[in-house]
Symmetry: C2
Subunit: 269 residues, 2 copies
């Protein structure tokens, strides 16, 4: 079996309704885009797409021909391996997310990116991306804000695993998923397609799969969430957020006066 189907084929399970690409949808939350912006972006995301049938590792291209992946559909997970023990899940990439901007510069040591079954990605060369941000300042601005959020999320994960008990960790991660999913239109009626296994969830939270299972059980028994067939359903959002000590501020763009925004945190060559 090939890992990739032919570029034109569709994944077995669509987790997003048709419409603008998730990335476009997300960026428009940050800054208004012109029709031209939206068009350019959508076009770029349609040039070189791939769909995987089953869960499989993703390459970021050869050293000479590196590319950046944008999630169109399905999820990806970045794992960081260590000598002993399970790999650590360090990031989840939902539709509309970049699979680690930094991977353009080269693969990170000891980390692998796994695509969920049925995931669809768009591949972007560095040149294409550079052209895009050069010709579309609003998109560039939105991308900066988005990448700030991505780094904010990584930081929150660190806080999550160190400062919260197992119960709150799981709850917090689920809250994050729901909010991120909403931002890209993946949530319908509190239902979010989520291809992670319980072991993944455990690895993200620094717990064992066994313990994670028990916690999910109590969340189910308390009718806070249910999780059947790779779909997370949040039944009682308030209770979930309370248990998680969840504060969504880290997922919102830092409101930046346009004066200080220009070109600062992203020095260009």
């Amino acid at each position: 079996m090939r890992a990739f189907d032919n570029p034109a084929s569709q994944g077995p399970q669509q987790s997003r309704a048709a419409g603008p690409p998730a990335l476009v949808r997300k960026l428009e939350r940050f800054t208004p885009l012109t029709v031209r912006d939206r068009h350019a972006l959508a076009h770029l995301l349609s040039l070189d797409t791939r769909t995987v049938r089953s869960k499989s590792p993703m390459s970021t291209g050869s050293p000479a021909n590196r590319f950046l992946a944008v999630m169109l559909d399905g999820w990806a997970c970045s794992y960081r391996g260590v000598r002993s023990g399970n790999p650590q899940l360090v990031a989840c990439h939902l539709p509309g997310d970049f699979c680690d901007l930094q991977s353009l510069a080269g693969p990170r040591p000891n980390t692998t990116i796994m695509l969920s079954a049925g995931a669809r990605i768009a591949r972007l060369s560095g040149e294409k991306l550079a052209m895009l941000v050069r010709d579309h300042p609003q998109i560039a601005r939105a991308l900066r804000l988005d990448s700030q959020i991505a780094s904010s999320i990584e930081r929150e994960w660190l806080v999550n695993v160190t400062r919260r008990d197992a119960h709150a960790r799981i709850a917090h991660l689920l809250c994050e998923f729901i909010v991120r999913g909403e931002a890209v239109g993946c949530v319908e009626n509190q239902h979010l397609p989520c291809p992670l296994t319980q072991a993944d969830l455990a690895n993200a939270c620094g717990l064992t799969a066994v313990h994670t299972n028990r916690i999910l059980r109590t969340l189910r028994e308390d009718e806070v969430i249910s999780w059947r067939g790779h779909v997370l359903h949040v039944q009682n959002r308030v209770r979930l957020a309370t248990r998680a000590d969840f504060c969504p501020a880290y997922l919102a763009p830092t409101t930046v006066s346009s004066a200080t925004d220009v070109d600062l945190n992203w020095p260009s060559a």
Copy 2:
């Protein structure tokens, strides 16, 4: 007592010998700099400096007048507070490090940066930084690489607290400090000035101060390290690295072909 002494004064304890600023030294490890580059950088770092006498929080400026701090001497720590419990130490800034590039865009929610006693910083406005990277492409390139490493470190901390036991966590953090310290010329004969308290160390590793203390004791008893008067001394580096499962790859710049380096991961406005 004022938090800041007058700009020209020296801190009470110099942790670095005189010479080029730590930042210059660090950047030169990435890419060769011209005399002009070095000069511009050193000049910029001399324009607006501050020294604190005692441990104190650092502001990143008013919304209208934000600045970026570069460590010249001493350390800074970024703490992320949570509702219940100790703040989490999310990053340490050694001489030559930026105190969170992102802070230029605005303060991060719930995080505070503390300067160690005797720390000296240079303050950089966004405009100044933008000019610098525009006029000095080699510096810009080095800054990109450096910021990649900074993000790599944050990721490693996540792995550290989730995938290693208390003993290895502490050892790993100390290994990191030594390697980072060496890169900026702060280590002399395996001695590194380190203003952290045991409680800080504990907060960085997701442990309690009590437990951290016990672990430091065993490390001392085994003659792996000693830690007296805010100076860390690594007596047996191999043993420390072994206990830590330490692999310094994440602290080294990803070797990047110059073809893919340009302007990609740092889209400019």
